[in-house]
Symmetry: C2
Subunit: 344 residues, 2 copies
């Protein structure tokens, strides 16, 4: 079992100083070609690789990005990680992933844990509980320590930082307009509770589309679902009682449940009922019928977030400490309406 070799060992073996070894390996012109080559050969032979931790401590940079998301088993978040990871890798960064499991406390603990030197910056999507409480002190705290943060998807306007989102309101509006253009008159909305930022925005878009088109806005056509487990009854009732001709759902799980319930009640999708969902995930592609969606390009969101964060990190290396103008940006990722079988 040959443990990893260190500069010290190489130095001893070659009977030179540690400094000489270090400089040789970094191709310093200070060192004679002779010893430089000798050291390099030896290092190669023993497969020397500098210790990341030591470098991190020395450089005060870890070259790693901390990601905090509510759940990894949601396809959308997995997609975002995938995008982040790609850009991170291209730039020599690695990625630490922590899950809040929608819990405020776990989100805070994770952030504090990572903030103590483990990472150079955060990419975060807030947990439901955090959005509900409206307590963002953990975010401000790390930002005050000079650690850059970019938020995506589930954000808050109370924090001023880099953000990447889709234009949820606009996207909902467009989806609605499409349904309205197809002649739908009585369109329901199946959404989450208002404290989830994206849910609220999509509701706004829904409402605006109705009003702009002089259609009746009926509160009873909006149902807000707390958790997916027991939504079937609510959805069933909606379909039964209201004689609606289309539904906009804020995620594909809701949409597929709607389709199931519709079929149980003897309604055909899309003939009797059109369905559009937010979040273009696996389910939409494989359900029967396939589901028309507003695609949130998670990969792109992740890529963008990673780019913004890395830029911020590496910018800070220059004008360190200086109270420079922090020009934070909010990037809007374009959505796309992907037409499938659930609308006609």
């Amino acid at each position: 079992m040959k443990r990893k070799v260190t500069l010290k060992q190489i130095a001893k073996e070659l009977d030179v100083s540690i400094s000489t070894v270090s400089k040789s390996l970094r191709d310093s012109s200070e060192i004679s070609e002779d010893t430089r080559l000798k050291v390099q050969a030896f290092a190669k032979l023993y497969n020397y690789k500098p210790n990341n931790i030591a470098l991190s401590l020395k450089n005060q940079r870890t070259k790693t990005i901390g990601i905090i998301i509510p759940e990894i088993v949601h396809h959308f978040f997995a997609t975002v990680i995938s995008g982040i990871e790609q850009i991170a890798n291209e730039n020599g960064y690695t990625v630490i992933v922590c899950l809040s499991n929608e819990s405020f406390t776990k989100e805070v603990i994770n952030m504090e844990m990572l903030a103590n030197g483990s990472i150079d910056g955060f990419i975060i999507s807030l947990s439901k509980e955090t959005q509900f409480k409206g307590d963002f002190h953990h975010i401000t705290e790390v930002m005050n320590q000079g650690m850059p943060v970019v938020m995506f998807d589930r954000i808050t306007n109370e924090i001023y930082c880099d953000k990447v989102i889709i234009d949820d309101k606009h996207a909902a509006y467009d989806a609605m307009q499409m349904l309205i253009d197809k002649g739908k008159k009585k369109i329901a909305l199946v959404t989450t509770e208002d404290y989830v930022s994206v849910g609220k925005l999509r509701t706004d878009g829904y409402t605006k589309a109705l009003l702009d088109n002089d259609l009746v806005f009926d509160n009873k056509l909006i149902i807000k679902i707390e958790d997916i487990e027991n939504c079937e009854v609510k959805i069933g009732k909606l379909i039964e009682d209201r004689a609606i001709d289309a539904i906009l759902a804020v995620n594909e799980l809701f949409a597929v449940t709607i389709i199931k319930m519709a079929s149980k009640k003897g309604l055909k999708v899309p003939e009797d009922l059109s369905v559009i969902a937010f979040t273009d995930g696996i389910i939409s592609q494989y359900s029967t019928p396939t589901i028309t969606t507003v695609s949130q390009n998670g990969i792109k969101m992740g890529q963008k977030a990673a780019k913004m964060l890395i830029e911020r990190i590496e910018l800070e290396d220059y004008d360190d400490d200086e109270e420079h103008v922090q020009h934070y940006k909010t990037e809007i990722i374009e959505t796309q309406l992907i037409l499938r079988e659930s609308t006609n």
Copy 2:
């Protein structure tokens, strides 16, 4: 912008030595209650938290686990990460995730990157390309350096280390037996190429079940799919030409495609054709009809893998360096047949 405070700063502020501060904060009995409390109060006020990187360097332990998986957008892998993360967190570990994207080279690069001090151990599921090449030098290398590795799901027998798998062969056998008991005679298998370890094992189970039940084994009923994109034709042909009454699919994407193609060809599932899939993911629950699956409990696999790794890491802290007997284990996670609408 108050940057993170260090021991040094506290020491200076309080006009004591760094050692005194350090000891005070660790409740050392060497220190007088007086100064201990004073230091602790000050540290609390300034929200002092020890720097992880410095601790890692000092302790030669990072308290982080490196995960390398082929893809994060596969629900199964996301589940496993979720399980790992949970156990890791409970034990004070964080988790670094790297994706190989099914590429051998990326797998190697990621491993080398993490092996240089960033983590205490690996949990890995091999990329397809790695399994195809049969080149595992990167694994042996890190193991030789004394870094524990546990492999899950996509493993290799050529490496002797801790492993956690499901009994793929047995699970396939059971699924087959269930179909056979229901009177199915002509059962097809839709699988991956043989170099994917789990694909091979499931094929073995399929074959054995047929032979044990004195049914005809027909090579034409096995189709091997390289990638999901262009499998529809192959599957369509299978259904059309062979007059089969059931199909075992090695993942749910294949299964849902089978169902789609069957419906196109005018066959009803499960009336005309029963379908069972490996991997109980989101799709199986939401497709129409819902799909009977062999559930691979990813959460449990992740938990088990994390437990094994942490145990190994912390065991090594004791008998460091000693060439102790390395009693590696292979844990088998139980699978379960989840009956749904795609079988009758």
